[in-house]
């Protein structure tokens, strides 16, 4: 095995910055994999999958969590900071510009109509992502029960999220507890 030399923090920042600029339309994890595994050869596919598993299990955005883990593997704490800031900063700058334009032109009839269309389309996107990720859960009666319970409590009755999690999660996890016969 001849590993490529460990990248420096500026190199890490540049690589993640490039993703931060080009990744229009979400699906960030795919962009990250392409850059880190395929182009730069900084992680093996298995290492990336392991990082993604941690990133999905813990709270926070999956993409930012993966950036933190990958950056840490490559160059420690400073690598993690370089990766996360590189990923986030371009989008923030663009959002500031969009936000200032919004504040300036929100009362314009044309802009308001376009924004209404954009918001309506964004809801459709979120619905599609939810249905796609949740396909398995919607088809399993027990999972569907927890999906609807969470939706009703948090979405309709505004039960506070930490309260809802502490009420529902223990039951949901216990019902999926490891069984003896499944253990090796």
């Amino acid at each position: 095995m001849n590993n490529p030399p460990a990248p420096t923090c500026p190199e890490i920042f540049r690589a993640f910055f490039r993703i931060g600029v080009t990744s229009f339309g979400g699906g960030l994890v795919a962009y990250l994999r392409d850059e880190i595994v395929t182009k730069k050869n900084w992680m093996t596919p298995d290492d990336f999958l392991a990082a993604l598993e941690i990133g999905q299990t813990l709270p926070g955005l999956n993409s930012v969590n993966v950036a933190i883990i990958a950056g840490r593997r490559l160059a420690g704490a400073r690598g993690a900071i370089a990766a996360a800031t590189g990923l986030v900063i371009p989008g923030v700058v663009i959002l500031v510009i969009l936000g200032l334009l919004y504040v300036r032109f929100r009362d314009n009839r044309d802009v308001a109509a376009a924004l209404a269309g954009i918001a309506a389309a964004a809801v459709g996107l979120l619905l599609q992502v939810t249905l796609k990720i949740g396909a398995k859960q919607f088809l399993n009666p027990l999972d569907l029960f927890f999906v609807l319970l969470t939706f009703v409590l948090v979405g309709l009755y505004h039960v506070s999220l930490p309260v809802a999690l502490f009420l529902i999660a223990p039951f949901a996890i216990i019902l999926r507890r490891p069984r003896k016969e499944e253990a090796k």
Binding site: G26, G60, R106, R109, A122
Partner: protein, 192 residues
């Protein structure tokens, strides 16, 4: 100043509650920022969320704009509003990042633990339920809003469902469809 502390409190908590990604905290975020603290209107929230979908990078960076608007709403100067934006971004990204950084150190020791699978399988439907609640939280303003005419709502619901259906049928960059939604909105929703 008090407003900055409130923003810090709300978004730090949201950061640590974002199980399964940022979309899971949308319903709670909408409730906190629109109904409880009234930092932004429901319309602003829906628009800011959709702006986040158009920008590259993590969509949830749009929380910064909520901080900006909250500071504006509290009568702060633009300088303070930018400070509020940074506070919200740091509050939303730092806590979960610290946690991930720390846990990735010790991950290998409980990777093989059978309960890890139970936690993931148990939390999955809760995440989906929260995302569905997010669709509702944004949709009740952006898609089916009682303040708009029936004709207007028919169009916004149609735009949303068309995007959903399209994405199931074709692999398309969602940013393109959202821009297209803007064009359709500009063309058809202007006069209503």
């Amino acid at each position: 100043m008090r407003e900055l502390v409130s923003l810090l409190n709300v978004f730090c908590l949201l950061s640590l509650l974002a199980v399964g990604g940022g979309s899971a905290v949308l319903p709670q975020m909408e409730h906190e920022t629109v109904t409880i603290h009234q930092w932004v209107t429901a319309d602003d929230f829906a628009t800011i969320y959709s702006l986040g979908q158009m920008a590259p990078g993590p969509n949830m960076s749009m929380v910064g704009l909520i901080g900006f608007k909250a500071a504006n709403h509290a009568g702060m100067s633009n300088g303070w509003a930018f400070a509020a934006m940074l506070v919200v971004l740091l509050a939303f990204y730092l806590p979960s990042s610290f946690l991930t950084y720390a846990v990735s150190h010790v991950w290998d020791s409980f990777k093989e633990n059978p309960w890890r699978d139970a936690v993931q399988r148990g939390m999955a439907p809760i995440t989906i339920g929260l995302m569905l609640a997010g669709v509702y939280a944004v949709g009740k303003t952006a898609s089916f809003n009682p303040q708009h005419s029936f004709h207007f709502n028919t169009l916004t619901v149609t735009i949303g469902l068309a995007v959903t259906a399209w994405l199931f049928l074709r692999r398309t960059n969602p940013a393109f469809l959202i821009l297209l939604g803007g064009v359709v909105g500009w063309f058809f929703l202007r006069g209503i």
